[in-house]
Amino acid sequence: MKNYETVIGLEVHLQLNTQTKIFCGCSTQFGREPNSQTCPVCLGLPGSLPVLNEQVLLSGMTIGLALNCTINSLVKFDRKNYYYPDLPKAYQISQYDFPIAKEGFLKVETGGQVKKMGIIRAHMEEDAGKLIHSPETKSSLVDYNRTGVPLVEIVSAPDMRSAQEAYDYLTTLKLLLSYLDVSDCDMEKGSLRCDANVSIREQGVQVLGTKTELKNLNSFRAVKNAIDFEVQRQIQTLEAGERIIQETRLWNEEKQITVSMRSKEEAHDYRYFPEPDLVPFMIETSMAEKARQALPELPTEKLTRFINDYKLSLYDAGVLVQDKNLAFFFEACVKAWNNPKKITNWIISILKQELNARRLTIAQTKLSITHFTELIQKVENGTLNNLTGKEVLTHMLDTGKDSATLIQEKGLTQVSDDASLNTIIDQVLAENADIVHAIKSGKENAIGFLVGQCMKKTQGKANPKKIGELIKGRIHNVSSS
């Protein structure tokens, strides 16, 4: 078998989080009754005229700038013509030769190195409607609520050389986009969609091989698996002496294979021409510069700052920055209580697990910054031990109450007066005479077991450090007497 190189380019469609559609004032809210968010413009009724939503242009510019693109000074829209019932006008308003942004790049950490992936362009366009196929009535049902919802399509250069690189590109891109606040980037809701262009060529050959376009990729994992499958399929095709046909192939998640879409369905002849219903847009340099100034702090910048300002390790800073909400929560906490290391530990080793278990983001919980930092301080000053502290946190996440209230309600005040502790220690020492004996004969480590027994008897409410000291003292006394 010959040596093949994989070449991948990705097209990412991002649904913007504007209030209204790209060319009309209909709401973009998800999940409403079919066709309840439509008007003559997005239904494509005769005589209606589109007008561009200013926020879409601004978001498009923000995305372009964050991807190190040049912003075109002349921006115009074009009609992409195709006949399919999800498009009421029989054309999609998109951008052809003067998109909002062109020629950028995204730095992606992949395979232990940083690779610069080219961005060919980012352009604005309107989303299509939703079709539900109903075989029993031999019909398709169309909901135009999504028609006209603003999209920005980000087209990468064919710079990725493996499914893993494509996966890493997507993860990095999604993180960057999440910091821009232009979309909820939710793949499950379809706010972020991805198509992959895949081809192979013999090692050393410059010319690109014939590509196939993979669609129906509903998760990053699906993107990776589909590319892996498709590369193998193309290799087998070539090795069998056959040719690759340029076509669209759909990923079948169940069977984990790509399947050819009937080529009849997809004559890629869109006959683009300038959209006469929309005027052109001139972007002054000052306007683009203003947008550049207004860019929020991007993930890589935040990472560096966290390491420098808060003396976090690369790993800790990375974990925080990977989740925009968590990163912002962390900084707010540090503002409330200046102890970045302790806060980081609590967020990464405790809070994050609790959030994962609940499948929630920090923003979706009732946790307040003050309550959280107060709780950590209570553990620090010994009012709570780690175990009870963690328990209080779980109740906080569920109820939104503060630690003082929860300690009271759940009876979690730490038992630390000597008298109460000694009573418990008496019991434990009596019950574990053999262990006591072992400790006396030098097995100091076994003290941990006795501490554990005491903690158990107090339902975790005792101060383990104090118990340890008391037990040590007692055994020493006993042994010296």
Binding site: S36, T38, Y83, D143, R262, V279, F281
Partner: protein
């Protein structure tokens, strides 16, 4: 040169069924139109600025503020067929 095949291809893209007679007729019509455009092509436009839009307007925006939509009933009122608030069209196979 427009051929019958071109017309059939465009008809397919447009999901229009044409009879042989219509195909024949449209082939000549389209050829005539192209001929006219060819005539325009002979004009000297070296001093004319290329334009994608005829109005002396640019940067016309809408603010991102919601406006009332049509009611579901009104939206589908003109549809030849509908089903539970959705437009009903002949089945399209993917």
């Amino acid at each position: 040169m427009i051929t019958k095949k071109d017309v059939q291809y465009i008809a397919h893209l447009s999901r229009i069924h044409l009879t042989d007679e219509e195909t024949e007729k449209l082939t000549t019509t389209l050829e005539d139109i192209l001929g006219y455009i060819e005539k325009l092509n002979t004009l000297d436009v070296s001093t004319v600025k290329p334009t994608s839009h005829v109005l002396p307007l640019q940067n016309v925006f809408r603010r991102d503020l919601p406006r009332p939509s049509l009611s579901q009933a009104d939206a589908i009122k003109s549809a030849p067929e509908s089903h539970k608030g959705s437009f009903k069209v002949p089945q399209v196979i993917e």
